[in-house]
């Protein structure tokens, strides 16, 4: 068991003792168990699994940073988070299509980075839904 604190711009989302955390960093998936060494990592858009009291919970995470301090407690500082139950697959698929379409057109008037971010968000939700 170790402490996990999830902080978003809207406040503290979760502050709980958990058993395991699996998250997509920019370098790949990483699972964190109790007693992990201090670590600072950059979190990608993607799914996250938590095991709390033997029960696995799924979330979609919208990028940010992960920090484990010397006592082994984990802070997750992210732009946004959805639970699997909150995800509307239909909507995510639509916005994925829209963003892909925009990226393909490469029109100067369209904000490419915005389309890219929205694509990342959609993919993160879809992956979580399917996990």
């Amino acid at each position: 068991m170790f402490k996990l604190k999830i902080i978003t711009p809207k406040g503290v989302y979760l502050d709980k003792e958990i058993e395991s955390l699996t998250i997509k960093l920019t370098t790949g998936y990483r699972t964190i168990l109790s007693g992990h060494a201090p670590l600072i990592g950059s979190v990608d858009y993607g799914p996250m699994h938590l095991i709390i009291n033997g029960e696995t919970k799924y979330y979609a995470v919208m990028g940010g940073a992960l920090s484990i301090d010397e006592s082994g407690s984990v802070s997750l500082i992210i732009n946004g988070i959805n639970t699997k139950e909150e995800i509307d697959l239909e909507r995510a698929l639509q916005s994925k299509e829209r963003a892909e379409h925009r990226l393909k057109e490469k029109d100067d008037n369209i904000d490419l980075r915005r389309a890219e971010l929205s694509l990342k968000r959609a993919i993160s939700r879809i992956d979580t839904y399917n996990s």
Partner: protein, 285 residues
């Protein structure tokens, strides 16, 4: 005399309706103030955590290699992001910022990116070169929009369009005191206070390496900073509006009291005069 009476009566009723409006606005501002204060409080956690992380990273960053966000460029212009309000009736809130801007910005070497309708109109009229892309950002503060702004200025800086990027906002001290303030966003000032002794004997694992992490965290830091300051400005604006409307309501009360007294006096005088006229005319007979 009766003309005077109607005039006073009309003034009283007009002040009464103004009072209703200022009173309602005061209530609205009070509610909004509370909401924005809560947002500011909840967000402070996030900002603190990010600042902590950046500090931690800068202990271990190779000091000879500056990140591209720290490197000065050779552009000749500065960009000022200025936060004003969208609505009026908030006492000297906007005016204080205008004065601050006039004192600190040189029109010839600077451009303004206004946030808020009032500022947009004012700086245009004053002849500043302005960038209107985000003037309605604070109408309904949305974190995603703030991220967009942060990416926008990041690309402006990295493409060497501006030498410095500043943010002018209103710092909230307490519910009756707030002052315009300015902070530098880019280039990041390297923190000289970072003590190498604060390093742990065994550094944490970095995933990926420190310099990449630093470059990835800076945009997150910038958007959280922008968001925090925009919310803080909103808190100041609502506090300013609340105080202004409270004073206006008090003034209306005072004025109504004075005018009612005047009205009653005039009415009494008119009655007395009529009685005198009736009595004197009956005596004449």
């Amino acid at each position: 005399m009766s003309a005077n009476l109607t005039k006073t009566k009309r003034r009283i009723s007009s002040i009464n309706s103004t009072k209703k409006i200022t009173n309602a606005m005061e209530l609205v501002a009070t509610v909004k103030l509370k909401r924005y204060k809560d947002t500011m409080f909840e967000n402070s956690n996030y900002v603190n955590e990010i600042v902590n992380l950046i500090h931690k990273l800068s202990y271990y960053k190779s000091s000879d290699k500056l990140s591209s966000f720290e490197l000065p460029n050779n552009a000749t212009k500065d960009l000022y992001i200025v936060i004003n309000s969208n609505l009026g009736l908030c006492a000297s809130y906007n005016n204080d910022i205008y004065k601050f801007v006039e004192k600190n910005i040189d029109k010839n070497t600077a451009e303004v990116l206004p946030i808020g309708l009032k500022g947009d109109q004012y700086y245009k009229k004053q002849g500043y070169v302005i960038d209107e892309s985000f003037y309605d950002l604070n109408e309904k503060i949305d974190y995603l929009k703030v991220i967009k702004l942060s990416r926008y200025i990041e690309s402006l800086f990295l493409s060497a369009k501006y030498r410095n990027i500043y943010l002018i906002y209103t710092r909230y001290i307490n519910s009756i005191k707030f002052v315009p303030d300015m902070i530098k966003i880019y280039p990041l000032e390297s923190d000289n206070e970072v003590k190498r002794e604060d390093r742990l004997e065994y550094p944490p694992i970095f995933d990926p390496d420190v310099d990449t992490l630093f470059d990835e965290l800076i945009p997150i830091y910038t958007s959280s900073l922008l968001y925090q300051k925009i919310v803080e400005s909103q808190v100041s604006e609502q506090a300013s509006r609340r105080t202004a409307m409270e004073n206006a309501t008090d003034n209306a009360d005072e004025l109504i009291e004075k005018l009612t007294l005047e009205y009653n006096k005039a009415r009494q005088a008119a009655i007395t005069q009529e009685i005198t006229e009736v009595v004197s005319s009956s005596l004449d007979k």
